[in-house]
Chain length 357, copies 3
């Protein structure tokens, strides 16, 4: 919701009742689940298992059942069906979705031999090069560029100002957000006579069905063959996928992460924010790389990794805990030295010669 | 300045005098403050408190007062008023600013129900969707896209090739650099039957007055409600602001930093380069996150943080210092073991069994 | 190659022979050098010095000489000249390169006083502002923007959807990939009366001959003077180069790296992925910053750096090794404490405290 209302106005919208009349003028500016809600939000309590979460919840208001009698932080608004009321509330505030009519805008430039499926929408200032094929009901957003001989499936949503490089192959229901670049050259050079000579990058980018890629992310074309992102994988903003990378199915790659050249990720891999995988390594299915982790070698399925270079998260946490305890270890070491110094003359000499205390 | 001149030519331009005639042919290629200047730059000495800085300054030349007699590294050029002379010098080299005339370029595509304030400039190949409102004297740069029902205030500078997503709300004097994307979908999925199901992102992006966002940065729209950046906050290039983030007033966020979903920053917060804040945390006013810091929990106002996970900078520095001292600590530990080994038989046995030396 | 064939079909294409007939139906989906190849790839063995590499190589098939008799992992396909056969193979699969005819597309908007060299290609929806000069045979890709008075050399390849900011100066054979932004304002503010006041950024960006910049990377214009990238330097995707940075000749900067304001890199510097250099430092020629390294002070030529803050890589590795050994150090410390505690007690207590391994 994009407007601000009071708790009282919100209660009126959902036909809710108050246990007390305190705080009715508090402002509500958002709506969120119990786990996400912060001051200013309204949330809802639809399942008894979230009761302890609700008690700690920082939302300003919460929709609760009529018989709800617990003490909670948010102002309780009693309604018949909190889940339903919350959905209606959200709908009330959310404006209708924006749709794009089928057809090609007169300002779009469409090349020769282009095949457009039924219901395709080509928006203003789009450029579609020769030999492109686009499946039914796909929308190509304003100002986007689709390179020669690219194939885009059906029901895709290509946002405004996207680049789909030549010969890319996209499945159905692919979503590309604004600023995405598919098919830039891989970063490959050969050093010769004091100069970096460009290695031709003649492969392609392939995105399978239901892939989604966030704003301003980049996927380079392969040296040969393809840079390949598997079905259902979701990639966040400002992510870099290098040439010849293969990412499996149903992976998640959070913002500002990078996978370097030729690395291969299994299925259901999760890379948290600002993570990295160096070139030429393989990660098994369901590997998780925790935030900022930087993976520098192969890991088998289901490993949870952290740190840079990344190690199994138990090890990483143990190392961090040890580092935090270092001042105390240093203190204990000093005590032992003093103790030995007190015991005997030779010990004292050794302690003396110890540097840096 | 974009040309190269000699120290002698530069002195002539400002009517300056030399203490000696050495080095008059050195090239000058830039101008900078004392703290920034490097070889090739001219700087100026306008305030006695910068004298020690000037002595260490690596500039090639410095404009100094007529009575200046200190020994400094740069070639001293004596002028009446160094600050004024420097300003004139810079102006001489700087070409006139580029301005954009009011009006809508014939190649721009403007939807229905669009309201444009007086003096608005819509450049070539811009697309403005239905229901957009743009305040007086705002410039929309070539090739930019403004989505349905977005509101942009007065005196804004939207650079070429920017995306302002549907229903975004921008205050006055907002500056968006080229490649910025406002209003991409937040990265939100629900895992169900082995697939990541997209959670609709129906909120908006709101930028208050005097916000500036650097090239190719991304600000996602909220799940509900708004992703909100407060008045006067300045964001650098390639920064990621996730859905439902709230950033206060007059913050600074340097390049390649990220704030994950639903986190809230106070006013006057500073995030240095390549920093991060994980999701669902809150930072108080005037918190500073030093370069590469990764904040993983709440911190109160004025805390200065460093490290990953970030801790108060004193702790972070102490930990780093301890780690640097580890080789010496290991040495001291070995000495103690040897000492005890020498003292008695039982000690010897224990020392033998000590691993890894 | 973008199709899938079997090992047998591949052998037929190059007229090759098999040592055995096992595994002829294995699928081949890519081609790569010995060091890069992974399962599914075909590689080639053209030089005896790569024999040990070939033995460890994980390629599915390898083109080898007719007299080759070593035991290797990949299926060996014997041919007269493996290097030549590999090249022909790759060519067979690679479609012809895409070229852009000279001339200005009717949808392009070209300002006054623009000078275009022979053979220049201005693609659809390009905007060229007043006073721009473009050298012979340069291609400006669809939807790109070239700001006022910019100069672009000959034989450059500017991809679709690039921003070349006003007054930028580009040498010959410069390659800019899609989404690159040159000439956004440097991130410079002065804090005054509780607000960040913008410092005008009136300098330019200069890229010398043979510079290549990857998708969605950003290079800010200088405060004064120029942000300058030297001849032959190659920059990967999503890299940030701040105002007044000077990068020498023939450097490599890998993805998601950043160089902060006014820093200067020598020639042949290598920055691996996700690295950083803070503002106002200098790196000598041939410095290497290993992955994730964050350089915070000056370093002389040829130094190899790692860590954050970066130190010579030997030190960084030693520190990491020490941290990994911390649990064992803690154990040794505990033993010493127990030993000293037991010294005045019966010998039996020492024996008790020592097992556990």
């Amino acid at each position: 919701m994009t407007v601000q209302i009071t708790v009282e106005q919100l209660a009126a919208l959902v036909g809710g009742q108050f246990a007390s009349t305190a705080d009715l003028q508090l402002p509500i500016t958002g709506a969120a689940a119990i786990s996400d809600a912060l001051p200013g939000d309204v949330t809802f309590f639809g399942n008894i298992k979230y009761l302890s979460g609700l008690k700690k919840c920082r939302a300003t208001a919460a929709l609760v059942p009529l018989d709800f009698a617990e003490e909670i932080g948010p102002v309780a608004i009693r309604v018949q069906n909190p889940t339903l009321a919350f959905s209606l509330l959200v709908e009330k505030f959310v404006p209708p979705p924006i749709t794009f009519a089928a057809g090609t805008h007169p300002s779009a430039v469409v090349g020769r031999g282009v095949e457009l499926g039924e219901g395709v929408s080509i928006q203003a200032h789009v450029v579609i090069e020769d030999g492109v094929k686009i499946g039914a009901n796909t929308v190509i957003g304003a100002g986007s560029y689709v390179g020669h001989e690219a194939k885009i499936g059906a029901d895709c949503q290509i946002a405004p100002r996207v680049t789909v490089g030549s010969r890319s192959i996209l499945g159905d229901r692919v979503i590309l957000h604004s600023g995405v670049v598919l098919g830039g050259d891989g970063f490959g050079f050969e050093f010769s006579n004091g100069r970096h000579i460009k290695i031709p990058q003649v492969g392609i980018v392939q995105l399978d069905d239901d892939v989604e890629i966030g704003s301003n992310s980049t996927v380079d074309r392969a040296r040969f063959g393809r840079t390949w992102i598997g079905e259902g994988t979701k990639i966040d903003n400002l992510v870099q996928i290098a040439h010849n990378v293969v990412i499996g199915k149903h992976c998640l790659v959070a913002a500002q992460s990078a996978v370097a050249g030729s690395s291969r990720l299994g299925n259901y891999v999760t890379m948290a924010g600002q993570t990295a995988v160096v070139g030429h390594v393989e990660l098994g299915d369901q590997v998780i790389v925790a935030a900022r982790g930087a993976v520098s070698k192969n890991f088998l399925a289901k490993e949870v990794l952290w740190g840079a270079p990344a190690v199994p998260i138990r090890e990483a946490k143990e190392q961090m805990a040890m580092v935090r305890r270092l001042p105390k270890m240093a203190e204990r070491l000093r005590r032992l030295e003093q103790l030995l110094e007190a015991q005997s003359a030779p010990a004292a000499r050794i302690a003396e010669s110890s540097p840096e205390r």
